[in-house]
Symmetry: C2
Subunit: 252 residues, 2 copies
């Protein structure tokens, strides 16, 4: 029997969805879509660096002061005894190692998928960050919460100020709406060939986008006003989109 | 004999390259890549709106005051008696109407190509605009020059200030370098499958990117310091890229 792949992920307090991080959701969705058996090992923020060093997963980024930044997702695949970090690299690894599963990055689309992601990150993620950051922090367990607040507030800006109730909040929500409208226009270029970024083909780009939206769904909760607002944009377009990918929302 | 497609384009003064507009270059490259016979009708800026109205090409955008904005490229295809505006729509039209020519937008990639474009526009085009805008204006014929300056300076900012010699200029060039480095990282995700956005397959995304770079090449001139700087980034990566697409730089 094949041993399940281990997905290292950061736990949150939402009782329905322990997973909340947009980055790790990309990999979680991808593993589920490929039908690969996997199980989660939950890691609190202050433990990520030592875990990565123990596994031999290199840092994926740099802190503002130039020091290495270790991030999740990281996977360990016992079948090949391989550790892989960073969601795009993991997607490529899984496509290569399990060629008989559905592809996350169809041939010739790696650069397109990367640029597409940057397009929506700049349009959607930046204002969405302002909206969710406080709730994202509050959704964490105490040790991670302390770590998250301390590192995110190193710039001197309190998490409470990113979307203060009233005008600042409403402006951020408006920006998310405008950003998502742009992304919709890109989808519309597919001329009704299917609901996904690549029309009738699911790909990593969908999981990057849906993973980003899961952020709000999990840290606010599905009944929250902001989540309902986003799901209501453009006559429920994003609600239908999330629904179409729901079967890959697997928590194991 | 098939009559050539007419491409409406804005003329500039560079004696080697009359075409300079990034938007119309996309279509120009695309027509050449498809091997479709075409010829240019040159249109000065103040005449674009009346031409579009005469042809029946709708506005593609809005001015800041909400009034309709008519833009080029527009094509007229005498074989089908069809007028099409906006480069992406034109690419789709050409793919559909001439199915035996190489595809500009391969199946399932329309949304990806649109998002990719937004990704590099935000990273590269915004700082590049600051660098080229004055030269772009000066490269125009007098009537267009007056129109361009008047409309672009409606925000109260003189074209001369976007990249004033010295620190402001150098900062803009640095931003272009940083932006292009990001785009390079996307290309690198193709793992050496070819020099183009889609690896070994040329597509509209290449013409959108190369057309954007042509902006500098034409309005500054190929021997200019800024163009040489950009062509020197990352050991000549973008010079090789432009070279790989050079055979489609067709002026007719």
């Amino acid at each position: 029997m094949t041993e399940p792949i281990i997905l290292y992920d950061i736990p949150g307090k939402n009782p329905k969805y322990t997973a909340w991080s947009p980055s790790t959701w990309k990999t979680r969705y991808g593993l589920a879509y490929k039908g690969l058996p996997f199980k989660t090992e939950w890691v609190e923020y202050p433990d990520i660096e030592s875990l990565c060093k123990k596994l031999g997963a290199p840092p994926t980024w740099k802190n503002d002061d130039g020091s290495p930044l270790y991030t999740l997702p990281v996977i360990y695949d016992p079948s090949t005894k391989t550790v892989v970090e960073e969601s795009f690299k993991i997607a490529k690894y899984l496509d290569k190692t399990y060629p008989n599963t559905p592809r996350l990055i169809p041939d010739n689309t790696a650069a397109l998928q990367s640029g597409f992601r940057m397009g929506f990150e700049l349009n959607v993620t930046e204002p969405l960050w302002d909206l969710v950051v406080l709730a994202a922090c509050n959704n964490l367990n105490p040790r991670s919460q302390e770590f998250f607040r301390r590192t995110r507030e190193a710039n001197g800006k309190k998490l409470e100020t990113y979307a203060s109730p009233g005008e600042v909040h409403d402006m951020a929500l408006k920006k998310v709406e405008t950003g998502l409208k742009k992304v919709s226009q890109w989808f519309d270029h597919n001329d009704g060939t299917g609901p996904f970024v690549m029309g009738d083909i699911i790909s990593h780009a969908d999981f990057a986008l849906a993973g980003r939206l899961m952020w709000g769904k999990v840290v606010w909760g599905e009944d929250s006003e902001d989540w309902r607002a986003i799901m209501g944009f453009e006559n429920g377009r994003w609600e239908r989109y999330m629904k179409a990918l729901e079967k890959y929302e697997v928590l194991t």
